[in-house]
Symmetry: D2
Subunit: 372 residues, 4 copies
């Protein structure tokens, strides 16, 4: 099965394992005429770089991106943009041992079952490094959407039991603390919590929240290609994500219609607006013009130094401690991955939404004919 592509109109195809020569992505369907430099990609990619604090793996991954095609004289040409990041800092010796047994919480065993064998070095295709291609592509999607005024704010909502408080929400904090929490107090508390886990050789999970502002209404389709359905697939396709919700999400399941419905009113400047946003910006699968709000539940890093029971490939019971340099929590580094996937999805559906009205189409083609 060819499962390495995502999107129909703005389509990305990622390739590469953590321990092969390189890892990369092909972005197909990017409109021509967008000015784009390797530095812009690099700068976005650096947001997932490890080693920036004691709360992420001390592995040094330079992750230097090269653009191999699709750009001419500083602008996209409308043809595929191929981007590659050489794998420079991977130490295969760390992984030699794990070839023989199945790490709990990892996909080791299912690979053997699915493919008959596996590339056991660093998780192979299931490595977190696979997200490099997504983030490089996301940099383009975010830049393109910005041309239409659409903007993203993504951050750590919670780490283990420690949650950022909406009442202390401080946007400037997001890039100020290494945990990317929009609440300095919660960030400090979460850091202390992580310290205790690191000491025990344990890890934890957390929640990432993504807010999309100034999204045009009308994006998404009423049935299978709902905006929320596609976002759900995009976010759940990120390794370690175990749940996704839109707006009030699971809390809506405990609510009532009278509380959960967002009443409409007329704004000062004459627009019809919602008085609340329980829907999280999506109604009937279609963007409603309010802020889009989504959350992803990320499970704890499965690679822990604490002793665990498991079996060898031959089924013999053993006890293991996973060695190596692992993140005690992957949430802070996954923030930009969630944003990238949300941006790619929204851009794809935005392009898909164009042919929905004949009047707009006619206007479009008339102006094209006049111009050429």
């Amino acid at each position: 099965m060819s499962g390495s592509s995502f999107g129909n109109y703005f389509r990305i195809t990622t390739w590469g394992e953590s321990h092969g020569p390189a890892i990369g992505v092909v972005v197909d369907g990017c409109p021509a005429g967008l000015s784009l430099s390797p530095e812009e990609i690099q700068s976005y990619l650096d947001r997932r770089k490890p080693g920036q604090s004691r709360y992420s793996t001390p592995r040094k991954e330079e992750d230097h991106v090269e653009i191999l095609s699709g750009i001419f004289e500083g602008k996209t040409t409308g043809t595929p943009i191929s981007m590659m990041v050489p794998n420079t800092s991977q130490r295969s010796r760390d992984y030699a041992e794990i070839a023989s047994y199945y790490r709990p919480g990892h996909s080791d065993m299912v690979y053997d079952q699915k493919y008959g064998f596996r590339d056991y070095r660093g998780g192979g295709r299931s490595s977190g490094r696979e997200t490099i291609g997504r983030v490089a592509a996301g940099a383009i999607a975010v830049k393109l959407l910005d041309q239409f005024g659409i903007q993203f704010l993504t951050y750590t909502k919670s780490i283990g039991p420690v949650e950022a408080s909406p009442s202390r929400f401080d946007r400037s904090q997001i890039f100020d603390n290494p945990l990317h929490m929009p609440d300095s107090e919660a960030a400090r508390e979460a850091a202390l919590y992580l310290d205790t886990l690191i000491k025990k050789g344990d890890s934890c999970g957390g929640i990432i929240e993504c807010v999309v502002r100034n999204l045009c209404p009308g994006i998404g389709d009423p049935v299978f290609e709902k905006l929320d359905a596609n976002l759900g697939k995009a976010i759940l396709s990120i390794g370690a994500v175990k749940g996704v919700e839109i707006g009030d999400g699971f809390a809506a399941a405990k609510s009532t219609g009278s509380a959960n419905n967002d009443p409409y009113t007329r704004s000062a400047d004459g627009d019809i607006v919602k008085l609340s946003n329980h829907s999280g910006g999506i109604l009937g699968g279609i963007s409603d013009g309010s802020d889009l709000i989504l959350r992803a539940a990320v499970k704890p890093t499965p690679s822990i130094a604490m002793q665990q029971d498991t079996v060898t490939k031959d089924g013999q019971g053993i006890q293991v401690r996973i060695q190596g340099r692992h993140d005690p929590v992957i949430v802070p580094r996954a923030v930009v991955v969630v944003e990238a996937m949300a941006a790619i999805t929204i851009l794809d559906l935005l392009l898909a939404s164009i042919p929905s009205r004949l009047d707009n189409l006619k206007r479009y083609f008339r102006s094209i004919r006049d111009n050429s």
Copy 2:
């Protein structure tokens, strides 16, 4: 955008509005040779029928399914199976009034924004009746998967704040109480809760849980076509679903690696098995041989008799009470829709997983050549 198809190998295409002449589905990619009768489809479809208790709309929808193609002498031929349900009991007069204003919590306004106008009768394409096609197709998927030993158990996990208790789990209850809860005590409590809502003209949401047993390991792909990612899209494509989670889901975000990892052991009969199932049957996007567990959060029915603030199409503020025959909670009727979408997704990925190993493929083609 053509958003009315789902699946690649086993692909369904639904069509129809609640108030058009009929509603239906085309199932493409069903293998030849499955015995299939209209009665089997009808019987599965009857599980979403309203009017079976005071907790669902008293509208009488007969929903009689006709098979128009793809069956010859009682067996599927490998060609598209077209199924149609005439819309017999729709009263357009109930909906004439709502043409003029936007119902809170509904997609009325986004339709106008996306398409320039809308079919205002009964929600048009966003009607719950759209799920008829999904369920009819799901009946085939469930039957096909049963040929490979894969089985489904789907039920109401919670209604508003009332949750079925795992300790009182009683499978026989699922089809015994009208709320489809596997816990008679919770079902009684939920019924009382619904009574109070009905009196107030309010509604509530709830959670549906689906368990898939005996699923082969190896289903799903490591990157974008993860099993959980596709299930996420499938479930979030059902109207009113606002969140989806796999295994421990959002609870995993608050857990630790040592608690959340499922240790492996060897079973009595020599298989490698997990000692727990926090993963919900999926690791790295691929089925791991344990029970697959997913949950969907369903928002409260937006059509309520209580007074709400809203605006007319022209932006004038008004107060409305939604008239008509509406479900106070859609969860019990949506149980079979969640199951149908899960089954369609799993079947699609099961078929997609076949070419993953050369050794299996060679064996397959050798046996085909020998047979023909």
Copy 3:
């Protein structure tokens, strides 16, 4: 495999066999706001109706189309348009005998090999009636393209060895003679040729030519989604078509660069135009603004009354004469099918071409935001 859908943006899904209750199509992705009546579909569909002359089967197929969804108050709503034609005049008894043996030139044997058995009544899914869905959908595509000024002219280029002469090309003839040849002299000659074949119980093939005028330049993509590649697939997906060519086609293979290249010049009104059109309106897979010209080679009707050698399902040699009411040549009735498939393909790629330039996209979204 789910092979009954065509197109990505304007997608059609056909279903039905010649001897089931009905045959139909779901059109997904049609923009909202197109006025559309069943009469318009019917009128286009009538162009493939048999029984209009002695050169097509005397079977009476009324082919009355019903629209089941996607239209509200005479306009498309942007949701799937489901169309159905009941199978009223099929006589299964004609086909009972052929269940036991394999008709030469038909797909009887390959069905048995692929599916394990077959619906032997009238060719099942390989029946010419399958094209009803294509033509009904094509009626919509033709009407939509007409909104953008794009127009089709499709006719019989040759019947057996008798070819319409370009020097006698007379557009008015196309709908005037039952063979749809744009040359009355060739039409008379072809009719005489068909008379001799009918007497012998034989059949013949022919060539269909489709010309598309006023097509915008820029439609199609440079690599796999070339306009000609997609047209090639569309046309070869019509049963009995064995070859397709664009512009000079196979003749170009015998030509030289100096003769085959189309020189550019500036037209009186300042446009850059080609002085000739060997390319047939496509360069590098992209429409070049000239007339698009394509030809389809149609094989002779395989059902003939002449005696043929074949085998029974068990491999026993027999001699057969195919009974029943068969077209001595299917070309005249296939003209509208070729046009329908060309129109569907061009519309699909036209919609796909919209996001190719950022400047156009920005202009588009700016005007949408201003409008809403």
Copy 4:
């Protein structure tokens, strides 16, 4: 539009321009467990290498392929295989001049119309170098199909007016003469013809024939995903191909049913076989077990040294002679490209055909369960 991918199950995505840093392909969906070395890819790729005779461009293109992912310990892992060929020998200065005008027979003008500007160096994405990715991927497809016994023979059928004679068909000649014609006499005659064209600064086209032997029956789908329809798209997606035909192709349009139908008989070893093969191995869109035969019509190389009329980008009439090192005929180098695309298409549909019969599927899954 994302038009750089081909195939659904075995999917290739090509990227790169002739004058960027590199050109490449990602192959997704290759089964795990195929032994594969860079040397095998290189060896197949060398078949399209220029400079091997005076009848191809004297440009020296080393085209050294690197495998960047998807292989572990000499075997495919089931994950994407990324292959890259650095562009080493491209001289941009040859192309600087052509930025200002539109070359006849090239896609220069349509790029400007579609994208607003173009990468004018060497044709950019429309360069013949784009086929490098196709051929590298084709090497894998050919090797995989060989595992199932399916084999390819592809050669030059004609060059300009000079055609290889079936009566002198000599398979060994195909790799012996630089024109890859299976007829030494025709090859000599074609060489003389090319000599006269080279002297005049002209070019010519030709026909490529591909024969696929030992193809299983049952490959392809009855409606839109016909085997011939997909082959048509694949072959017409190769630059310069203007026509494609299957079996007797355009000649069938001049034939009669009695001559064109292939009668069945029982072979000595009890199989049902066709006595002739006018169908070219495909009936009703499905492989019929005979040799598959397809032909591609290739237009003359548009880059010629002879003087041609054209216009500058501003529409000013000029006369040009295309300088640079161009093939007088591209047919010999395109032979392997046609084969590669045919192999990719057939492999894709072969994998797609697996779920067509429930009995085979059940047998397959039973054996998987027993094995694991």
